[in-house]
Symmetry: D3
Subunit: 250 residues, 6 copies
Amino acid sequence: MRILLVNPNMTEEVTTLMWQTGRAAASPEVELTAVTARRGLPYISSRAEAQIGGVVALEMLADAGSDYDAAILAAFGDPGLLGARELFDFPIVGVSEAAMLTACMLGGRFLIVTFTAAMCGWYRDCVTMHGLDSRCAGVVALDRPIGPLHEVRERHGDALIELAARESRKRDAAAVILAGAPLSGLAERVREALSAPVVDPIVAAVKQAEALATLRPKKASQGSFRRPASKSSVGLYAPLAAILRGGHDG
Amino acid sequence: MRILLVNPNMTEEVTTLMWQTGRAAASPEVELTAVTARRGLPYISSRAEAQIGGVVALEMLADAGSDYDAAILAAFGDPGLLGARELFDFPIVGVSEAAMLTACMLGGRFLIVTFTAAMCGWYRDCVTMHGLDSRCAGVVALDRPIGPLHEVRERHGDALIELAARESRKRDAAAVILAGAPLSGLAERVREALSAPVVDPIVAAVKQAEALATLRPKKASQGSFRRPASKSSVGLYAPLAAILRGGHDG
Amino acid sequence: MRILLVNPNMTEEVTTLMWQTGRAAASPEVELTAVTARRGLPYISSRAEAQIGGVVALEMLADAGSDYDAAILAAFGDPGLLGARELFDFPIVGVSEAAMLTACMLGGRFLIVTFTAAMCGWYRDCVTMHGLDSRCAGVVALDRPIGPLHEVRERHGDALIELAARESRKRDAAAVILAGAPLSGLAERVREALSAPVVDPIVAAVKQAEALATLRPKKASQGSFRRPASKSSVGLYAPLAAILRGGHDG
Amino acid sequence: MRILLVNPNMTEEVTTLMWQTGRAAASPEVELTAVTARRGLPYISSRAEAQIGGVVALEMLADAGSDYDAAILAAFGDPGLLGARELFDFPIVGVSEAAMLTACMLGGRFLIVTFTAAMCGWYRDCVTMHGLDSRCAGVVALDRPIGPLHEVRERHGDALIELAARESRKRDAAAVILAGAPLSGLAERVREALSAPVVDPIVAAVKQAEALATLRPKKASQGSFRRPASKSSVGLYAPLAAILRGGHDG
Amino acid sequence: MRILLVNPNMTEEVTTLMWQTGRAAASPEVELTAVTARRGLPYISSRAEAQIGGVVALEMLADAGSDYDAAILAAFGDPGLLGARELFDFPIVGVSEAAMLTACMLGGRFLIVTFTAAMCGWYRDCVTMHGLDSRCAGVVALDRPIGPLHEVRERHGDALIELAARESRKRDAAAVILAGAPLSGLAERVREALSAPVVDPIVAAVKQAEALATLRPKKASQGSFRRPASKSSVGLYAPLAAILRGGHDG
Amino acid sequence: MRILLVNPNMTEEVTTLMWQTGRAAASPEVELTAVTARRGLPYISSRAEAQIGGVVALEMLADAGSDYDAAILAAFGDPGLLGARELFDFPIVGVSEAAMLTACMLGGRFLIVTFTAAMCGWYRDCVTMHGLDSRCAGVVALDRPIGPLHEVRERHGDALIELAARESRKRDAAAVILAGAPLSGLAERVREALSAPVVDPIVAAVKQAEALATLRPKKASQGSFRRPASKSSVGLYAPLAAILRGGHDG
């Protein structure tokens, strides 16, 4: 079973972090490949950047070929997810989608905890996009400068635990999602410190990708998620343009 | 990884069908054990029967011991699920919950198709219980006598395919869930006949159980999903009574 | 007019309390009979216990015969209510349902106040089950050990009043529901201390049972609330098994 | 127990019809008084007319004095209900509110059936105003000229039954509400012809008024449903102006 | 382009304030006419008063003739708006509707800030009436005596700014609406003091009226917003009675 | 007042059509400038294409400079809208957002009518993104090959009218939105043929842009819609990269 982890951000260290977390969670039969964006932004943290990062993700998926059983879109907020789901034949799961759906199985409502308030609005949009508002107890964040991404776990780990503990208790959250790629792997450490279960989005995404790969869902040939009709384009990344040209005859 | 499949119905043939479907979908490292109810009803098909079947499920889980990494509650409608989630330390997933959450990853809205209209209302309640109304394109059923349960797939397979095809097109459903244990395994056959992807609830449930087992969620020690306070009881199945007595000190 | 009050808990003192409160509210022509569970739990306070208590309620209703014009399911959270509504020919109302619907007629949103935080999650589930989330200003509870059930009113009455006063003001609640059978009758005492009207669930339930008895609703012979099809069963309480066997021919 | 039925329409025959239906449903201890509007419209059937009829209702309530234990606002759509609930010390229930809340206790979703399509939009607004959209299976109407109001039951009774039967089956409605004052009393006749239970709004309203009268809810002295602050006015009906002037000191 | 601003309150100073604010925002080609109620209340601040004020608004619109391209219903809470939309051929916009829809275009959720807590419940009803609950971050108010209406801006301006600043930050509101006619024009002053954009309802309403006037929407001749059928009436303001009599033949 | 109309599609004829429709609706003082995408797709008709088109829109806005008082994002579905709202200092409105918000002011629920079923799912996503599901009576489309875009109005006008007439009547829609840039200007012709009012998205967008330009909303300096923090990037269109680099210091 071959699973592709697409990091639409350009920070290699974060890809490595995600690959390590994902690899540890994957079944033995899974071959997990991770790719990092070669253009775009170091880290997506706004709606505008997600618009761009979503296209970068489509480009990376177009590059990937069709040798994968499933792909993971590895940026919280799921930039480009719905479009990717139209274009490609293999199933694709977003890390925030995977985290939220997995958290739903722990009962009641989940709390999303992240490291910078700038992302709260965009993350709330993502909850709404997935129709999960009634399962979400809120999106909360630290309110402080964060420093380098790959040090977020070390520098702010304790403050995140305290925030998660306080808010999950206050809101009766049945599960906590640690959101944002730089927090990958933190869930394990937080485990003992919190009295609610914690979901690591990358762990969730790898297992959901396995689920989809096993299900082998047929590509829709009707409705609004089938391949779009063939389109010519100008000035797009060539492999993506080829995918768009390869759509159905409408 | 040890996963327990709990069939709160008494029909062994259906348990076998589910075990076979589940076994084929499970990762190699999974040991899948299936148990059939020894009291209760041959098949749950109403809210009243689900009330009873939910207690039977709790009894079966109390019997199971703590050697499992995750359990599957294998009756569509998820009878007893939320209560089980309070009482037991290992994670538990319901088949309808698993099917719906998995279907969400195929985009847009899912259609639930079942074999008898008697279950539509109860299944709609289940969609609401999981907060997924906005992701559900409807619950539809055949309107005819169904005969023996283990023959449902053979006798009514074609009619179910036709129903699923017509309604999924009409409602622009991005995925179809074939609901009801007697339909286990039918998804594979339906695959070629439909132009939307199909979700087999047992396949979904096995993979979601694997996801939860890998996540190893900590048992909540706060909030409304922690173990209830210790309770004495009268006239309950002894292993279940023991579980209830073993709750926290409040 | 004969109304049956079913307490699916085993604490006789609480049944007595509810009967007294209900009797004082009933119309002169009402004959109010109260029965207490002979198996199960002293007091239901979790989803798991409600699963069990709901079956006990079905058993008690099966015992009751058909001489009643309406029945009250007298445990907040309404365990077994929807199933009971399928099985029996006389109308049945739950105390939480009755309290919430009655509170709706006082305008705006109601606040649910109870004596232990353990029940908040389950009560919120109940609000959702009845589709009344938009009418509910919240579920709040004391956060302290409660001691014996029949002393809750005396020991914690003042703290409950203070909690209700503070939260109803803060949330602009148009009515307060004092939830939990041990609080029956407290509403009268709270009356002068609060500036919002208070709903006693037992008073509400008796009046709603009268409403249903007067309406004499025809038992549904179509749709998902008609009697389920005839079912054989194993190991169930005999009178309940007889009811299940007596369903329609499907 | 004194209950006032306020018909904000000017058609005496309809008041009589409602009084008769209500009287038959009321408890023996109830004294039911009905009043008919002396200004306004023969029958409210639009939002604009409801705006006017709502003021007429306030005027009639201002005329009524304070000798009542509860009042019924007897026009489907509940014109003026929320305002009345602020101004007056006794509890007030609307017939559509009463019908819908009572129907909720019959399970699942209710269907509203009326005799002219002109009212469907306004009635849907009323469902939304009460926060009951998720409990409503739809609002349906005959599409034909109706003739004199007091003959609606005779002329169109059969067509209404056919419509209610067809749509309630199609939408799996657990109950049918016959909406519109001219249909008062029709529920009894429809009873045998439908396979779902039927709610007569006047019967429901009388019983809900009894429920409120028994509850004796304290008039809110906080929040948005307390008496508005004292106001002078110009050109209003004198007894209503006096009520407005008699508000609190703010 | 002729636009009519209807103030259903009797306070001329407030009409003047609104006219000045509106005139400054209107396009050069707009002729803005403002009228003040000659009966009713000095200022609407409850649901009951809105019931009355809504009829006064219908009377004022009936007086206005048909020489207008659009009308503004200039009382926050939009009393009488939906009825007016049925009766009159020119388009009509409410100030709260205009403010909320305009605020939606600034992203995310808007916060409604007003000067007295008495109006919060009624304003929340208005948000619900327009189906905008998911776009509203809350309705907040000062909690103090307000004094004369035309001095509200001066006396309480600073406190309102502080309230708006604190609550908009806390709730991540993307826009602030200053609600209530006496606050007209305050937005300009608040502008520099807040870090979120501010919507003046009168400015929004004038521009929305221009939008509707330009669109020249055809008066509906089908459905629930067409003119109601012709009705005779008793005791209504003559020009309004004439409008009601002039409806279609139904 | 300078308004920029951004067509993120590459079809000049459609830009011309929109400019003409918009110019006719604009106030005299408005200078309306329209630009056409120089890269991307001839016409956006799927979620994937909207992901790309949204970035093209951001690029075009980055090119535009800051001399505009407001901008219109002129592709139904509003690709890139929320991101644009973060990045730029002038207000931006989407054509679908403008059409829907304007339609809300015509009462009740609007119907969206378009020319190809492929867009229905994406357009429904857009309704949800704006929180307007409860105001939308549905999204309907012709089900046939459409031919060249600039001939859609001529070839399919009659079929679209028939579809709009049938579905608006059936669903009691208070307004009809003709969605999709190639339908610009069709509303005027449809006007006489339909019995519900029709909204042309370009007309609506121009007037909403005027409303925003008049409001001159302050750029948020707090919360999730302020300018994102300064970011370096690789391989992006230089003017867009400059905008991203120019963000705040975080």
